[in-house]
């Protein structure tokens, strides 16, 4: 059954005809060409597909495109300000919080959701918050440092340069 779905993606109104079974992530990747959002599992655990729906982190592989009708979606492609990285992206780079890069978009979108609700998270809070984001490369060590540094930068707090390189 084909349905037309209208929503806002990265600030722009979008309409598309989809099957009922089309997932939001399929709409983003295949119809809209926004391939920064990834799919790493089938069971809603890896978090590579996390996007923001009306400002909240959601797994786009576990949401039907039709369920996103009328919603505002933000993907990794809309996080930087032009060519200037968002402070959270910059913190990931500066702390070497990514290797293969596959989980990274979901990590960043989740990190932004965390900081929205908890502007100054502790290491423990960051680790617990990342329950729904798997990374196989970094051992999470530098991701935790990056989110801490990114949160500090977003608060406007003075930051230590970074942690990864010092070790």
């Amino acid at each position: 059954m084909q349905k037309t779905v209208s929503l806002t993606v990265n600030g722009k109104p979008v309409s598309a005809t989809v099957e009922g079974r089309t997932l939001l992530v399929q709409l983003l990747r295949e119809t809209l060409g926004l391939t920064g959002t990834h799919v790493g599992c089938d069971t809603s655990q890896c978090g590579a597909c996390v996007v923001h729906v009306d400002g909240e982190a959601v797994k786009s592989c576990t949401l039907l495109a039709v369920q996103a009708e009328g919603r505002a979606i933000k993907t990794i492609e809309d996080v930087a300000d032009g060519d200037t990285l968002h402070p959270m992206q910059e913190a990931f780079r500066d702390n070497h919080a990514l290797q293969c890069g596959f989980c990274t978009p979901g990590m960043i979108m989740s990190a932004l959701d965390l900081v929205k609700n908890n502007p100054d998270p502790s290491d423990r809070e960051i680790r617990e918050y990342l329950e729904g984001n798997l990374c196989r490369c970094t051992g999470y060590h530098n991701i935790v440092l990056a989110i801490k540094a990114g949160a500090a930068a977003m608060r406007g707090a003075p930051t230590k340069s970074q942690g990864a390189a010092a070790e």
Partner: protein, 789 residues
């Protein structure tokens, strides 16, 4: 200008951070069709009927192909790249590995048919209309069970399911040494089966250009040239000149993306057959059922010690699970990547290892991060710890007593390898100091007051990396050379493109190699572009695995740079009217020794391409050089890890209190990237020790851990912060002195954690805990002791 040794931020990050990476599944070709692969739901069955008629007629379906279609078209089986010979000199059993099953399926997930349609949904819908009649047969998944008389046979033509029965070392000498030993410590242990689980599932797109007859395969590979060779020569019979393999951004590999997989051949063949691009992307369940698994050993080990507590002999007997077919490099993992490492960091004078490789009704097993070396390290470091416990001596001291002395290099082990350099004392000192090893008993006592069992564990490791000298591996059965290639292409304005056969799928080559080249040619990083992953661009390449990229791939780049500099000197000599022998190259300038006359790298580059006044008889125009580098030896990274854990006896829950890792990687180019590699390896090693386990139902052969609901991946809250340090002894046979760092963490961590656990459970009389040490296993160990008391 000294980029080497500095934590340069990664050049690849911008595209990944902004969603601009291009992974295989991000690529779409015009007119592309989608493949869905129908896989066996049974562990072992004969296919007595196969009817694709209804599926082929379904809306949106272009074609359905089966194993018979491929066989009729002359498609070959998937090859194995390494031939092992058994003790009796007979070659290993190498039964056929069809791309799609013919009359029999041998593991859950064995591919049977492919449906190609306009959408993936339609392809999968249609796959359910394929009618297959199965005659289900008994399955065997445990390798030790598969060796027993009367066990079901995976291949009728392979007696006893034995692929090979191999050995290394002198059994008589080892038996004699064990007989005269003061003490012999014995242990049976398993090395649990793992699923690599790169976060990017495998994907492949086949394309065919009717105009040129060129086939293109985009694939999630760590070594596109190897895929081109194997698929072109053995499976599809396409000459290299007509086959392009592209491995774009790849979302992690850890070994699982080395191998040539059926799906790559299927989409390449089908695209040519249908004259349309064909795309296949695994979902995660498919990844669990089709990516090569890792480890899965069962071992009996005996270590003999003399009255001075010196190791006198080591005897190892291992059963290694191969799975249902031989994956590309499966056969070398439990042999030459395993038994050759059994000396570890110690002077054990005689070692004997025998390994039976066994077929079972499980997914093929092949190299996974560390590949053989984690298995060797785990058993050596467990038996050494057990010996310390039985002798009542400090495990750190027992290790020091038996370490290869600092002045003993080059050191010939009894198991074929010759270590070129190392210093195990210093890394152990660093790790034990950082973890306050001396002060541990106070922490154990304090934890006991809180009702907790606290333990500390040491593991040292050595690995053979920089894989590998072609002559050596060739004599041991490798069907490939393991050199690396690189080209340095200097452009007229002085910018440089490096074409490397190494492949980056997270390792940061675009940064590390650029650092090498910036220092080597004396030019800024911004002038350097690193290109990899495309057989149409790169001269040749053997790819990335076995911590070889820097030691072998990096050296190939240096060799090519040497040729550039040599030619640059010739050009400079001509321009400066000096003798070539008088030209020095330093910091990007070619100068006449002892004078202030010089030409910059950019001037030489321009002259090479604008050769208006060139001695053409002596010198060709252009500045573009290729080098192939074949290493002289393996490299031998080593290190010492100390883990401290605390166990809650009420639930068996374990917390890692600290993890100190000290590694010797030789020269480090980018310490930030190296630390990241260690972190990731440690996470995988800790995952193996505590969480990860691939489980088959013994009765049915069903894969019970086929999703993240059942296969426990390490998450952020399972892991501690890691404390790292390094101590360098340089590799003596490559110009960088680099050894490799990618696998270390996964090699050393399982034993460090396991030793800490056994130490924590010492008060309750536990001798060994199998991995993964889940809370239930730990609780049971404690509980049984309590019940017995």
């Amino acid at each position: 200008m000294a980029e080497i040794g500095t934590p340069v931020r990664r050049r690849e990050d911008y595209r990944f951070l902004t969603g601009q990476g291009t992974y295989t599944d991000d690529i779409n070709r015009p007119g592309q069709l989608y493949a869905y692969i129908l896989r066996s739901p049974h562990a072992h069955a004969r296919i007595t009927g196969l009817d694709t008629g209804a599926a082929a007629k379904t809306a949106g379906v272009t074609a359905v192909f089966t194993g018979k279609d491929l066989a009729d078209a002359g498609v070959g089986g998937l090859p194995c790249g390494w031939q092992i010979h058994s003790k009796d000199g007979s070659p290993m059993q190498e039964p056929p590995h069809p791309v799609l099953a013919l009359d029999r399926v041998r593991h859950v997930g064995d591919p049977i048919a492919v449906v190609i349609a306009d959408t993936l949904g339609h392809a999968r819908d249609a796959s359910e209309l394929i009618k297959i009649d199965y005659a289900v047969e008994p399955a065997i998944t445990n390798a030790s069970e598969a060796l027993k008389p009367g066990a079901p046979l995976v291949f009728a033509e392979v007696p006893g399911n034995v692929c090979y029965d191999w050995h290394l070392g002198d059994p008589a000498a080892v038996d004699a040494a064990l007989k005269s030993a003061t003490r012999v410590v014995k242990l049976d242990l398993t090395n649990n089966r793992l699923v690599p689980n790169a976060m990017e599932p495998r994907a492949a797109i086949g394309d065919f250009d009717r105009a040129t007859g060129e086939h293109t395969l985009f694939t999630t590979s760590q070594n596109p040239h190897v895929i081109r060779l194997l698929m072109g020569a053995f499976v599809l019979h396409i000459p290299e000149a007509k086959l392009r393999v592209v491995a774009p951004d790849v979302g992690g590999g850890f070994g699982s993306k080395i191998y040539h997989y059926a799906e790559e051949a299927i989409v390449t063949w089908a695209a040519a057959k249908l004259r349309k691009p064909v795309k296949w992307t695994a979902d995660r369940v498919e990844s669990f059922m089709s990516d090569a698994h890792g480890r899965d050993h069962a071992t009996h080990v005996e270590l003999g010690l003399d009255a001075q507590n010196k190791f006198v002999a080591l005897k190892v007997s291992t059963v290694a699970n191969m799975g249902a077919y031989l994956s590309t490099f499966a056969t070398c993992v439990p042999t030459y990547l395993y038994a050759t490492l059994l000396a570890g960091t110690y002077t054990t004078p005689v070692i004997y290892a025998e390994v039976k490789a066994v077929f079972t009704n499980t997914v093929p097993v092949d190299a996974y991060r560390g590949a053989g070396r984690p298995e060797a390290t785990f058993l050596v470091e467990r038996i050494v710890d057990l010996a310390a416990d039985e002798l009542g001596v400090d495990p750190a001291e027992l290790r020091r007593k038996n370490f290869i002395p600092k002045d003993a290099y080059p050191y010939q082990t009894p198991v074929a390898l010759q270590y070129d350099s190392g210093d195990y004392f210093s890394t152990l000192d660093l790790a034990t100091k950082a973890s306050d090893y001396a002060g541990f008993e106070a922490r154990r006592a304090e934890a006991a007051l809180r009702g907790k069992l606290r333990g500390i564990g040491i593991a040292t490791y050595i690995e053979a990396c920089g894989i590998a000298p072609s002559a050596v591996v060739g004599s041991l059965g490798a069907r490939a050379g393991l050199f690396e290639a690189a080209a340095v292409r200097v452009h007229p304005t002085g910018s440089v493109t490096i074409l490397t056969g190494s492949h980056s799928h997270g390792q940061g080559h675009e940064t590390t190699f650029a650092q090498l080249v910036a220092d080597g040619l004396g030019i800024p990083m911004e002038s350097i572009e690193i290109v990899h992953g495309d057989t149409a661009k790169i001269p040749y390449g053997m790819g990335t695995y076995g911590s070889r990229s820097l030691a072998v791939g990096g050296t190939a780049i240096i060799k090519a740079m040497d040729k550039i500099i040599a030619k640059g000197k010739k050009i400079a000599a001509h321009l400066l009217e000096a003798a070539e022998a008088d030209i020095e190259f330093k910091d990007g300038n070619f100068s006449v020794a002892g004078t202030d006359r010089s030409k910059s790298f950019g001037e030489i580059a321009l002259t090479a391409y604008v050769p208006h006044n060139f001695p053409h008889e002596e010198l060709e125009p252009g500045l573009d050089e290729t080098a192939f580098y074949d290493p002289k030896n393996f490299t031998f990274p080593s290190g010492a890890y100390v883990a401290e854990v605390e166990i809650d006896p009420d639930t068996g829950t374990l917390e890692i209190c600290s993890f100190n890792a000290s590694d010797d990687f030789g020269r480090i180019i980018n310490p930030m990237i190296v630390a990241g590699q260690v972190h990731g390896g440690l996470a995988q090693g800790i995952g193996q020790a505590l969480l990860e386990n691939c489980v088959y139902d013994q009765a049915t052969g069903q894969l019970l851990t086929a999703s993240y609901n059942d296969y426990a991946m390490p998450r952020a809250d399972d892991l501690p912060h890691f404390a790292l340090s390094t101590h360098a002894t340089l590799c003596t046979h490559n110009p960088l002195g680099g050894k490799g760092c990618g696998e270390a963490g996964a090699i050393g961590a399982p034993a460090a954690i396991s030793n800490a656990i056994v130490d924590a459970l010492k008060p309750v009389g536990v001798r060994h805990v199998e991995m993964p040490a889940t809370p239930e296993k730990l609780w049971r160990a404690i509980h049984q002791h309590k019940a017995a008391a």
